[in-house]
Symmetry: D2
Subunit: 424 residues, 4 copies
């Protein structure tokens, strides 16, 4: 650990929550160098949907390396990129009747959001973007302007502008919140935008997470999403869904908003799409908007990532039948059920929220949450807090987590809660 203390930046965070050095990882388990095994309910912040070192992907990657595949290609054409594109189109887009174009940019979620903002502003000739309270969209200045958390915003050092803030439309109203979410809130916003003396400029885009993960696992209601989409279309703005953390199968279908009747202009994807933990980001863009790009106008060195294409293609195989997705739903229900049992003892102080294998317990108290996470770590369970002050404990295991690990993890969690409550 001294190496990190001596040479790594003070900004490091997760290593303070998990004070050990990890050596290996397999599916839903990580092992530290002392040999201690941890169940992983964190999955690299939702990246490792198919488990650490997924064996199918390992095999494909080794074969790729041995064959001198093109690991890095910018946006030149490569055989592995073509394979990935074809698989994604066949598996995800065509069955949904979607004809969105795939845009690859710098391989991080924030770069995807920056690209979406540029295009929305280009297409509409407008500047203002509507984003949500509690939204999280990244750390670079364009996406950070959309991110709501003041801890992150305060790091900017310059004003973050051109954003109008809209209350997020929670399916389940948060305890004590009086912001006024739901479709009534969208109606009020519509009235403002439609009044030329409201002081609001016409927006370029509405950027919404169907499920706010970092913001505290808030699940949007279908009716609110439909209302926002309608407002966007009526105002001539693009409707952008940021599915970076909730997409790629996390909630029991590929997109977290599948089946809601939504028709987004742009979908931003990252985290889980590269499959193995190697970076990749991709926007799905309606062709009528995509043609506003000029070649190379939004570049990035690491756009073409061979490893991510190879593993990402393997990931597609999980969506070619319903096996994994039905497992996600089943396991999600088991998890929600366990959490509800725990919350039941809180006399209404705690709230369970989530969808599929993104479930969360909002304990409404940062110190308690911190203590729980710490007790879990000591007992061999990795998970993390999210939301303001981290008071929401989020569970996002690999979608491939074995039942035994899931059950054991939930048991550890129940014990950790008790220990933390006693300690705090």
């Amino acid at each position: 650990m001294q190496v990190f203390e001596k040479w790594e930046s003070e900004i490091r965070g997760y290593c303070r929550i998990y004070p050990t050095v990890f050596k290996s990882a397999s599916n839903a388990r990580q092992v530290d160098e002392a040999g201690k095994s941890y169940i992983d309910f964190f999955a690299g912040a939702g990246v490792l949907n198919f488990g650490h070192n997924n064996p199918l992907m390992k095999e494909a990657l080794i074969e790729f390396i041995q064959a001198d595949g093109v690991a890095h290609s910018l946006d030149t054409s490569t055989t592995v990129k073509r394979d990935f594109i074809q698989a994604f189109a066949d598996t995800i887009l065509v069955p949904r009747g979607m004809n969105h174009k795939m845009q690859f940019m710098g391989p991080t979620g924030t770069n995807a959001v920056e690209a979406a903002l540029k295009l929305a502003r280009r297409v509409t000739g407008r500047k203002t973007v509507v984003a949500c309270t509690h939204g999280f969209h990244g750390m670079t200045l364009g996406s950070l302007a959309l991110t709501a958390n003041s801890y992150f915003r305060n790091a900017a050092g310059v004003p973050l502008e051109h954003v109008v803030r809209m209350p997020f439309g929670c399916q389940t109203p948060c305890r004590g919140c009086e912001m006024g979410c739901g479709t009534a809130s969208v109606d009020r916003l519509r009235a403002q935008f439609e009044d030329s003396s409201s002081g609001l400029e016409a927006p370029a885009a509405f950027v919404v997470e169907p499920i706010q993960a970092e913001g505290g696992v808030h699940v949007a209601s279908q009716e609110w999403l439909l209302a926002v989409q309608q407002l966007a279309k009526d105002l001539g703005a693009l409707f952008v869904l940021d599915d970076i953390q909730a997409g790629c199968g996390r909630t029991g279908s590929y997109f977290s908003f599948d089946g809601m009747g939504l028709d987004p202009d742009i979908i931003t994807l990252a985290k889980g799409i590269g499959g193995f933990g190697t970076p990749l980001a991709m926007n799905l863009v309606k062709p009528e908007h995509d043609r506003h790009w000029s070649p190379g106008e939004h570049t990035g060195t690491f756009r073409g990532q061979g490893f991510s294409f190879v593993a990402g293609k393997v990931a597609m195989s999980y969506f070619q039948n319903d096996t994994l997705m039905s497992e996600v739903k089943r396991k999600g229900e088991q998890m929600a059920s366990a959490l509800n049992a725990i919350a039941a003892s809180s006399q209404g102080a705690w709230q369970v929220r989530g969808k599929g294998l993104m479930q969360a317990l909002d304990v409404g108290d940062s110190a308690l949450s911190k203590a729980i996470v710490s007790e879990c770590f000591q007992r061999g369970l990795l998970l993390g807090g999210c939301g303001t002050g981290g008071m929401v404990i989020k569970m996002i295991p690999p979608l491939t987590i074995p039942d035994a690990d899931l059950t054991e993890g939930l048991q550890i969690f129940a014990q950790a809660i008790k220990a933390a409550q006693e300690a705090v």
Copy 2:
């Protein structure tokens, strides 16, 4: 190719310059699916300093995968991250007497620049950043504000503010340029900053590329860099060197500014540091600045990249003795000499610029440059244009390029020039 046409975004650029599908790559060669082999004077925009599929790295990566190493770790501590940090400290920092801290962020150059800007603004409490004409620092809104090229800037869709522009201090004055670079320019800027009625706000940072790669391969003079550094220190601003493309051995030493007596507050690195083409970005930050970060204040999902740590550690082995670096100097001279011979025929219209294995021929004409690049491609040589309108042809082969490939590549280039001149 139809797959790309049908499904990939119109924004793709390099694939239009190299209209083929690459299948494999090894050291300084790429092979397309038709079996045609290309000499690579482009190296993934300067990423692949150690060659495509470097055999030492391949071996290490396969071993890592087979051992279920931790591929993705955010900023938790892992054994491979520690190995990389230790190797980097021992090989690069300690011998230079540097005690900079290593900060890992989202694994792209633009994220590194964004992090540097945040920290400089935090440390100084100021907003304005001084950046150079022809500078290139990335595509997200913070770094794009520093990027000079209007083609990229125009894509922002919002004003790019808080930047003061300074002429870059070219070692060799550009043909026809009357901006007034050099230390006289720094003196003028100093006079402005020191006059409280000049209308300039005190700056948070000076952000400078020692060699502007994308901007057209402009090499800064040592005296200008020293003058800028002195001005930064005198004004209480941070001196930030962006060595993303020119660093990691490209110019014959690890940093492109080695031996110049510079003492930067922050150094941004990316491209070549991951070694194999897998993404990684890292800032080197003086400890007295680094302690202004709060944990997790600038995050990013893909901060901890196992593959990049593994290959990046292998890359360090190339700097533990002088073999590679002296090769780079020798080959760089060969390249410069060949280019000078070509330029000699232009009666002063063309200019050769560069350092180490980043060499360029400025032909001062976009159409001609385009034609040359195209003729090269047809003859089996990959390279690209840079600078305004792409009129500067840049050569950045892998540092490990075999002499035969280097010589053949230069021969092809000479032929392509002739063919292009006849055609244009």
Copy 3:
């Protein structure tokens, strides 16, 4: 008229509504050069509260000129300035227990608002200001950012930033408006500001017109104003009341918000304060905020206006007893009553709003409003439209209007309405 056509800017506006050349004016009458007399329900946009060429003021001004009084003094001390300050303190401030400091700046309302914004930002160290839908605060870039009407905003040519928009809390809900005003709206805003993940920065100030004049004569409810004030105090923001058009006796008391139990940090005044139509602007600033100013930090050449001090002191005499204010209330009721009778015929389509001698008929139709104003002009009555598209007809005669002129004006208005309805 040719002189104006040939030499004056195309931007001129009111002269298109009143296409004649005025030669003289007395109390509530203006006479054009053809000798036609007009009843003035416009009063120079609310400047001429004490009538054109008020005889007491005329006398004082002539005496001042003849005695070589100091007409222009910047912020040096003069006898007439002292007299004005003393009269204002004795007549307005002391009786109300106010100890606000008087700040004179460039003699226009917009300069007053700019000064208030600077001070609020200085005191709080914050940037964001909360302003209202339909608010009007001026045309210079700082105040224009607060102004809501897009016609004015679009003239800026640069983004207008650092403003959060709040629905104005109308006493009488506007027809068809679904923005959601009232204290519930303040509660929602409070919830947003109190949530550190709402994406809103803490505000420097809330800037509110107790009555929105230009915005369409919207009268704020007392409970909403109290709620906004409480929110401002709770957030550490300054509570700024812009009483530029509604103040100076217009509504039946000196401030339009007298008697509501409000305690503003800054009050901006202009229009009526100079008394005679000569420019003056003044902010009333609580001493604890005022001491944050450094000398001369917000300057302006025309700060010390002798004519305005002289006439403004005479104006104070109208507030030393209740005569004028009770007249204002009585005449205001007469006006409202006449307008209500007219609106009664509209089957709910029209709305009457106002307070004291600022009354308005909202006809909800720009073309009709324009036609009415034009018919009035032809019949010898001057008044104007306000609000979005000018669809609200505003009546703001001199407070000293004789009963005969008031009655005749209202009769003309009734006739003009009929004529306009037939014509449209």
Copy 4:
């Protein structure tokens, strides 16, 4: 004085330099309430070009008041406004072959600059404005962005953007300044603007004071002004001359740039144009730009100022023959000569700068300057410091100053200098 202490804002400035209460004023003399008479070398910051209480204007104003003239008219047409416009056109514009339109806005210089910025941005569709080091253009956010002095800028509380800073092209190089002014500086700026990779956006306007008054009495060279004008035209930007303080006859001709062969797109005027010290501001706008305005797009309550039109028309009579202007030149030479004699004793430490009756002694030392101004005040001479830290003593008496007062004032100044040098 207690009234001011108790009730007036701490921001007041000039009253601290002139700690007395003025009661009356006539031509170049002000008298305080103790009966002490002061010679006025300040003239209300350059407003009172025709003397305090100019007798011709007094007569015209009293007649106007007695005849119930229209004192306040917004932008309706009045007989006195027409008379002023006609006189201005006949006296100033037509003889110069100018067909500029006259635009009246809020009656302060800053409002004039704000209007000019809006129009330049509208005409060009661009945002950036080029302004000068040491420039002064006003205090509202739009004009303040152009103002260079950091004391004023720091009061804004928000970033001041969309401005590129250009060294002012002094006729006489300032002592010790190394900013690099002159046409070489314009050439460098041209090179930057013409390089699409310089990072500068194309500008909407160049805004220049032919003589920087507040900035320290810097007189621009003709060749530099011509070069700036040429650059503006070449770039499609508007060339805006801010003649607010130096215009209206101050330098020996109506415009301070008369005879230089300049052809500005917009000229901003204020201070002296109202003649008597009553506010007025006016832009002269080329018709081809003016037609981009829509009616009422940039408004302001106090646009139509009867008193200023009346006195301003009288002011025109001073330009109908050469009497006053030749006097200005003669007196200006006398003043410069006296100052040069004083400066001669400084062994090069002091510098005399100016044109016509705006002359200044730069003593290069704030404390000394302050002491001189104070000694002058005690001896009955009013003048003020300008430039950074106020180290330049500016002399701008009424143009109508009697020779006796001028001579006596210069004698007092010489004595005050000696006293101040002894004291400091």
